[in-house]
Amino acid sequence: MPDDSPHALRLTFAWRDSQISLVASERVAMIVPASVPEPDVPATTGYSFALLDANGRVLYRRPLHSPIRIDAEAFSPGRGRAIERVPLASTDGRFTLLVPDLADAHAFRLSGPADPRRPDDAATELLRLDVDALRKASGATGTVPPRTRGPGG
C-alpha cells in the first residue's frame, strides 16, 4: 500500500570555498517547517532555498542563515554581554536542508551570494537540482553510518 503520509527530503550539502555540492538525499516521513511567503519587498540579499514546479513557480521557500561558515560567533557569559564575530580559517563544511516531498515539485533551488565572503552582494542561483533525481538518490535510513572526520581536531 502506498505511503501517502507527508515526507520530506533531507538534503546534505558539502561546501569547499564557494563551491556547493549535494552529498546525500534521504526521504524521511516527517513534516517540514511552514513555507515563508515572499514579502512585499522582495528579498535580494542573503541565502534561501526553494522548491519550484515545472513552470518555475515557488511551492516552498525558506530563508537560510549563512550555511557557508566564513566566520563564527563567540559568546560571552552573563546577561547583557554582547556577541562577537571572529573569522574562521576553515574552507569546507557541511549543512543540511529539509524540503517537503511535494508531488508537483520539479526543481530545488539554492540562492545566495556568489562569494560567501561578500554576504551583502545580490543573491544569485547557486545550485539547482532535479527533484526526481533527489528522490531516486534517497537511500534507506536507520543505521548508524560510519563516522566522518569533522572539524575541531
Binding site: 528579498a43 540579499t45 560567533e73 559568546f75 566522518t148 569533522g150 572539524p151
Partner: protein
Amino acid sequence: MSAADGSVGATQKIVDHGPDASRYNVVVLGDGYRASEMAKYHADVQAFVDTFRQTAPYDALWCGINVHRIDVVSTDSGADDPVACGDGTAGSGAVARTYFDSTFCSNNAIRRLLSCDSVSARNVAHARVPAAHVVIVVVNSPLYGGSGGDVATFSTAPGAYEIALHEMGHTAFGFADEYEYYAGCGSGEPGHDVYSGGEPVEPNVTRNTNRATLKWRSVLTSATDPLPTTANANCAQCDPQSNPKQPDYVGAYEGARYMHCGCYRPSFNCRMRMLGEPFCAACQKAIRDALAPYLPVAYQGLWWKSPAGSESGWGMNIAHQGDIIFATWFTYDATGKAWWLSMTAPMVSGGNVYAGTLNVTNGPAFNAVPFNPALVVATPVGNGTLTFSDANNGTFAYTVNGVSQTKAITREVFGPVPVCRFGVQSDLSKATNYQDLWWNDPPGSESGWGLNVTHQGNILFATWFTYDVDGSALWLSATLQQTGTKTYAGTLNRTTGPAFNAVPWNPASVGVTPVGSATLTFADGNHATFAYTVNGVSQTKSITREVFQPPGTVCQ
C-alpha cells in the same frame, strides 16, 4: 579523539507529544560524558529542556515539539582545551578523548568557540531519530563556550544554554543576527558603517522602513508612531542611544546584521542581538509561523456519544490548551437531575491520552450577588481518561462513585466544524470564532462557574455549568442563533434525563424545559456579555475566555 573514544547508547524520547512524523523533533546528544556521568548528562539535558520549554514562544508551541536524548558515552570527561589559542588566551592543555571530539578554541580562533564534529553528531542523530529537525550537543565542561552551524554546541557552564537557543534561531528559522557590529562596538572596525546591500531575506532585519510594506508590520506596537524608531547619528560607530521605548516595543531600530546604519531590527533588544534577552516579537512570530504545522489539532469543542445522536442528552465540553484538557461532563444524577462533573486532565502519553480526577462541585446559586468563589467546594468522586483515536473520535473511560464505564465519543456536529489549535494566536481578542471555555471577567473573579461555547457557522451551543438554589451542580443549555454582527440569542433550557450510568441510556427519556433566555454579545474575540433570564431572574455578566495554559486555543 574519535568515535573510537566512546559509544552510542540508548535513545530516550524525553518529551513526547506524539509521532515523530507529525512533530518538530529536537535531538540532544552529549559529549565528554563518561559512563559514570550519565546521570549528570541526563540532569544537564533536563535543565536545558526546562529552559527551552519556558522560552517564548516555545512555551506556547510545546505540544508540537518532541525532544529526544541520545546517551553518548565518551572515554574521557570534558573537552579539549588547547594551551595556545588565536585570541592569545592560555588554556589548560587538556586533551579529552570524546566521541564527538569537542574542543574549545575551535579553528584556533577564540577560546570560547566550542565546537564538535558536527557531521558525526548529525549522523548519529539522524540514524537514531530519522525525523530530527534540530541537533544540539551538550558538552560536559564547566568552561563557558559554544557555537552554531549545522549543529548547536554548548557547554554546561551557567547560561551557556543561551547559545543553543540563539543558534537555533539561525539554523531552524533563518534569523539574522540583530547586533549592529562585527567584532564589537568598541573595536573600531572598518567596513560596517552603512549597509549597502538589497533587502535581506531574513525575517528579522530589513532596510525598509515603510510601514505599509515592513515585513514585521503585523507585530508593530504602534500604528501611528513614526518609523524608524531610532536613527544612528554617527554611522562610524554603534548607536549609543538607549531605548526610547519600552523593552518589548516593536518598531524599526537602526543598526542590525553587522551594520551600524542602513539596516533595521524590530526591537531594541532580542535574543538574536544579545544572549539572555527574549526573542523579539518578529522572531517569535516567525517561529510560531514555522512551527504551526506541528501543532496537534486541539480536541476543543463539544463531544457526545458515538455514533452521533445515540445518547443525545448528555455530552462533554472539552477546553484543550497545550498539554491540558479541562472537561465538563454534563449529564444527570441518580434522580435524573442535571448534573455536571469536571476534570482537569493533563496529557499522559503520546499526545492522545489525557487523564485526571473527576470532581463534583457545589457553590453559590447561579443568581447569587455577589458570587463568592470561596464558597465553591469541589469533591473528588472518581477519575476519567480520554483517549483520542483521531481528531474527531475517542473514548471516555471513567469511574464515578465506584461505577466504571467506557463510552465511545465523537464531536457533535451542527454546522461547519472549526479547526482549533493551541498557541497560534497570542492575542485572543482577534479571534473570530468564539468556541472556548468562558468565565466571569476579570479572570478568577467568580471562579467556579463557566460557560462552554461551541461555535459552528452562525450557531452557538452554550452549556452553562453553575449551581442550583440549593448549591448543587446545575447546568443549563441554549442554542443561540446569530441576531446581530456579534450577538447571539436563544432559549435557555433545563434538562432532565437518565442517570449517567444507566444501561441502556435512553435518549427518549430526556426532558427539556425552557426556563428563560440567553444572549451573548461579543465585544471582541476575548470579551463578551452574557445576559440571561432564568425563572424570571435577569442578570448580566461580563465574561472572558478562561486561559489556563497561555496563550490559549483559538478555533477558525
